[in-house]
Structure formats: C-alpha cells, structure tokens
Symmetry: C2
Subunit: 405 residues, 2 copies
C-alpha cells in the first residue's frame, strides 16, 4: 500500500466547512484582476478606523518583555471591562470575566463547558456560520430551529421551541443583535427563553458581540434578565465595537462560578490572550460609552440606505433589522450561490460589481441536501461609506433584474 | 428542585486540569506578602527582553484599521516564515504554513485533524502538561509511554513503542527540545519513529517550539527527515525564540496538503491570528538566524550552572539535557508536590526561597491514582540570570537537606 494513501485526515477534519463568507474570494480576485471594482458586502469588516487611543496604546506599549499574561486575562483589563459592563447596566465582578481570544474562543469554551460530546445545543437559523466549526470541534450537535425573513427572523413561538428541546439539550445559543440577520431580540423574547431555561435547567449562551450596534431602543443583554445567574453565559468581543477585528480580544462573562472556573482551566491550556491588545482595549474602556454614539449614527444611516435600496427590488423579502450591520434578504432567485458567483464572473455595470454572502452558509450543515436551506437568501454587510452603499444597492437591483433565470 | 442544582458544568468541563505550573501561585503570593523573595523556576517565561525590532514594529504599526487578517496568516508573514525555515535547512512553501494563535492552537488543530474522538495519540511521559487540555477538548486519548530520568528521558526501544500502538493509534506526538525534560531527540531516534510512522500509517506531530535552544550539535526537525511528507506535522511558535510569549503567534507546518487544508478550514472558524504581532514577528524573520547565537550562549551557561548545582545534591538523579531551558530532576523526596508547597510556606534562607513545578503535572492524568506518576520529580526552568540561578540552586540544596522526611 502507498503510505500516502494511508495518511487520511480524520473524518471531522474533512467535515470542517469552508467559510461561506470567504470562499468566493478567488472569484473576486479574478474580477479585480480584470479591472472590475468589487463592492464587498460579503464580510463584516467595518471600514471605520480603529480609534486613536487604541492605536496610541499599541504605539506606546512600554513593557520590554512581552511575557505571558494571566490565562483569565490581565487583572487591570478585567477590572476595566467590569466598568464597561456597569455603564451598560450589567453588574459584574472582574472575577466573573474571562478574557478570550476573540468572541470565537468564548463560544468554543462555552460549548465545551455546557455540553458533553453528543449533547445538543438549540440554536436559531440562520446563524453565525462559525458556530458550526466550534460545535464540530466540541462534538456538540447544533439543533437548529428556523426563523423566517417575513417575520424579521424573530423567535418561533414557545411550543415550537419546546418541541425542539430533547433530553440531550443542554443550552440555547442566541445571538442578539444577530449576525447574519441584524435582528435584535426583544426583552420579551429573552424572558420567554429565560423561563424555559429555568424550567428545564438549560444554559443560555448569548453572543452579544454587536451589543453597541442597536438602532431602535436599547439593547437587552442576557445578563440584564434577573434570576438567570446560574444559566447565563455572555459571549462578547471588542472586534466590532472598537473596529479592532484583527486584535483578537473577546470575553466570556458569567455569574456561575463553576462555569467560570471551568473556563479558566480551559484558558490555562492556551496560556493567555494577546497581552499587548489587552492594554489597548483597556485604553478604550476608559473613554466611556459616549464614544459609540457617532459610530451608531453612521451605521443607522447605512442601514436605512441599504434597506431602502432593497425595498426597490421587486420580489425581495426582508424586514428592517434593528441592529448589527447585516441584512439577510430573500431574493426572487432560487439559487443565490450561483447568483453570488455570477455577480463576480459575469455581471458588471460601468466596471463595477458587488460581492454578497450566500444564505446556505448560515444554516446548519446537512449531508447532501436536495435543496440547501437559505438558498434564496443573501447576507449583506453594510460596512461601506454611504455613496458606495448607494451604488452597491443600485448594482444589486440591476443584477437581480438582469440575472438569467 | 433548585434551578442552581441543575446547572452543572459538563463532565469534561470539570475534568480540565488546573495548571500544575500555575496552581502554586497563591502560595507564592502569600510568601511574597510575608517579605520573602521567591526565585521562580516554575514557569518557562524567559527573562530576556523581547528584541528591539519586534517592539519597534509594534510601535510603528501603521494601519489605521486593525482589520481581520487571513485565517491562514498574512501572506507576507508566511513568506518570511518560509525563509526562516529555509535558513534552518527546511524547505517549505508558504502554502505549507498556517499561522496559529501560539503553538497551543497548532497542537489543538493537529490533534483534531489526525484523530477522531476516541482515537489515540501516543506520547512520551513526562510531557508538556497542556497536551492534556487539548486532547480533552478534542476527545482524543493520549496514550503515554514513560521515559526515565536515568536515561536522560530518551525514547524507549522499538518493541516498547510498538507495544503501545493500538489499532486506534493515529499519531505519535513528540516534543524536541523537550518541555519539561530538556531532552533533544537524536536524529536516530527520529528515524526510528519515522520508520514506524511509514510502516504503520501514523502521523508524527512534532512540537519544536524550543528549536533554537539546542546546546550540543544542531537540531533535527521532523521536517528534515526524508520520506515523511505525508506524515509530518510541525508545531512551532515564536514565543520562546523571540521572547514574545504574550504575543500568541505560532504555526503549523506540513507538506501534507489535506492536513493543511483541514487546518485552514479550522482556522477560518476563529477568523485570524492577531495581525499586529504578525507584523512584529515578520520584522524578526528579516534579521536572519544570527540573532539566536547570544541568546543560546546565555542559556548554555545557565544550563551548566543549573546542572552543576543539581549535581551537588545527594541522591538527585538527572542527565545533562541538551536543549530548551528545563531540567527535570528526580529528588530524594517521595512527594514533590508537598515539597514544592513547603518551599513556599515553611522554607526560607536569608529571606529567600524558590518555586518549582512538581512532576505529576507532566504525566497523563489518572483517576484517583494511588501514587501519582512523577511524584519524586520537579521541573526547573533556568530562566533567571546566572547569579540568581546560582543562589536558587544553593537554596534548593539547602531545602532538600532541611526538608523533614
């Protein structure tokens, strides 16, 4: 036997999904090489500059040895972070916080802590695509329950949720404001889930990395809901709120001491989060919540421009989302994977096109599905300046019109 | 039923081990509070300054948005890293490299890629304690085979290794230069493992994060061994070689394209490694291998001082290690966990004591063992300046002498 034939990647190694957000990149590169300008609405990378105090803290970092930090995060930064939450009406002690390597790691830790391999975690489709990867790494089954564009991707009713909970369900995983839909869960929705969590003994893992991006009313955190101290695990990140996605600083916050202790033990395995960026993030927390206002205003305008643009497309279905910087829209096109490729390979107008993220990547993976879920949907990230966004919406309308059905 | 009673952390969440290196920290804090100077030989945190070009690159980082980088690492940095390996006689294409968040993440990725949950990975005890955590996160069973202080912790003979390989064994995990023993595997030892890997269709995961710390001869990498392209997975990190442990930049290198592709898909799940530190690490790779000479000379002197100090302790067993900055010694003390605590709680000489890492943390975990493995061993990290090291060895000799047996 050829040795090379024997060296197979594990089955799980092969199951890890290609990023649905990034897999069109080669086609975009080819379009750019042909001289086409590509408006990138496919990826949630804000174009707003990282705030000056963050960069200043990097530039003046004064330690001479970049030594290991504390596994649970630097004490001074955790203290500052507790202050950030206090300003948002969330009382946390610094010992409730574990600094993680992005929100990503907080999700991985949370899944491993609440569930044994083979256990289930209920989540709502469409959902952040990388939950699939972390569930697979943890041997946890994500059990998805669909939400619909026509109802603004809000939660199903209680009987539908209860019907999806099995004896192996250990947690409910939510994301609000939501990636990919932009939906902000209402306090009443959180209270419905909280009651189920208490009644059935479930954890709630709440991904709130877009917490500062809410355009109507205020954000309700899972940690605002009383009586959930043992149940609630908050996943958070500075990536979006400080436009520092490449810094990889997140956190896991919980008042459940056993969960926190388990997270610290997992954190010890990977030693520490990046220490320089913790100093930079700390500089930001000192500025208080006032810094988010102008950014929120800008994204509110962008959301409105995007939503208005979409309304002009015949047959398109979407409700106006209240948060994050995404809109998930149903197009009058049965196969948006093919449409997204066609935008990059065949379509252009005055030398420009756009890049979108096709819907199926935001649904649970199925083995050889007849029709992938979400195939008539795309996710748009409104992370461009307003004139570019207007142009992108114009391009999208033209493309939908011209697309050979 | 009280809701709080129902909210249990998963069994694996409770099994994650407390860091054996860090768990004595509260006792050390208490000793310091009593005015005792504690020489820390317990943790592999080099005291050498992070090189100026690394810090300069941080201080002059000129992007205005710290955006997401590429999941597999920045192209320019991967190219530079391939150059680093070329200078070490290892031919790699930049497409063979995946930049990881420390060596830690490379180990996690490698374990998940080679093994299904329930599969086994052979490793040699004593081993780097955090392998336990990553194996647990991956559902992989580490099957340990003991090596002995008296034979310098070199590999057992072939029949012993072959006897430990089962139908579920998917890989052999090695670390050379070794943490915790300082042992550098000989080329002949690597060739023995390579033959077994080829004959039996096993991967070899080779942790070489101490590759620049070899004091006799040159380092043989797993990627130097011909005919292993499909089998070899290198785990590496800049933490030690650039004294930048807190930067969290590592890499996984393999010529097996399927392994590399799986690693990239896993990497996409967590988006990217820290981008600022990649720029800093790139600045270092431009300096060439000459920068390691002075550092290596300094550690060689430290090793000799430490080893000489140990030789003066009656009943102590250890061979002179050839690499890394650790020595694992067998003491004439049956319970070195108790001894390590006693050093911090009861012992001092002229207001000074030392902190060591007890042996058992570097062995596979067992449920309620009668006598933990490695209980008569300690790991010493020679990461202090020579006068302090000399004093620490003097303190250790006094402590062993005074310890109430």
């Amino acid at each position: 036997m050829e040795p090379s034939l024997m060296m197979r990647v594990s089955a799980r190694g092969n199951r890890f999904p290609d990023s649905p957000i990034r897999k069109l990149a080669p086609l975009a590169d080819a379009a750019i090489a042909r001289g086409i300008h590509v408006h990138s609405l496919n990826i949630g990378q804000p174009d707003v500059p990282t705030p000056r105090p963050f960069l200043d803290a990097l530039h003046t970092y004064d330690r001479t040895v970049i030594a290991y930090g504390r596994s649970e995060g630097e004490p001074a930064y955790r203290l500052a972070l507790a202050g950030y939450y206090r300003a948002a009406g969330i009382e946390l002690d610094e010992s409730d916080l574990v600094v993680t390597i992005g929100g990503s790691e907080a999700i991985l830790f949370a899944l491993q802590i609440v569930a044994e391999p083979g256990d289930e975690v209920l989540c709502f489709e469409p959902f952040y695509t990388n939950y699939n990867t972390f569930a697979m790494m943890s041997g946890v089954t994500l059990r998805p329950l669909r939400t619909e564009a026509a109802s603004g991707f809000h939660l199903p009713d209680d009987p539908a949720i209860l019907a999806a909970i099995t004896p192996r369900t250990k947690a409910i995983l939510i994301c609000s404001p939501n990636n990919p839909t932009g939906t902000v869960l209402k306090e009443s929705e959180l209270r419905r889930l909280a009651k189920m969590a208490r009644d059935l003994g479930l954890f709630i893992i709440s991904d709130e990395v877009y917490r500062e991006f809410v355009y109507e009313g205020t954000h309700t955190s899972i940690l605002h809901i009383e009586g959930l101290d043992d149940h609630a695990i908050l996943v958070d990140s500075i990536s979006k709120r400080y436009s520092a996605c490449g810094a990889r600083i997140g956190c896991l916050a919980t008042r459940n001491k056993e969960v926190r202790a388990a997270a610290v033990r997992m954190a010890q395995g990977r030693l520490c989060p990046p220490v320089v960026e913790q100093a930079a993030a700390m500089a930001m927390t000192k500025l208080g919540p006032g810094i988010f206002g102008p950014m929120r205003d800008e994204y509110l305008r962008r959301r409105d421009i995007t939503f208005e643009g979409l309304q002009r497309i015949p047959g398109l279905v979407c409700e106006k989302p209240s948060g994050a910087f995404y809109i998930m829209a149903e197009l009058p096109i049965p196969d948006c994977e093919a449409f997204a490729r066609w935008l990059l390979t065949d379509f252009s107008h005055d030398g420009e096109t756009l890049m979108v993220a096709p819907g199926p990547g935001f649904y649970a993976q199925e083995e050889a599905p007849e029709t992938p879920k979400g195939l008539n949907q795309v996710r748009l990230a409104y992370v461009l300046e307003i004139p570019k966004l207007k142009r992108a919406m114009d391009l999208l309308a033209r493309a939908v019109d011209q697309y050979p059905a």
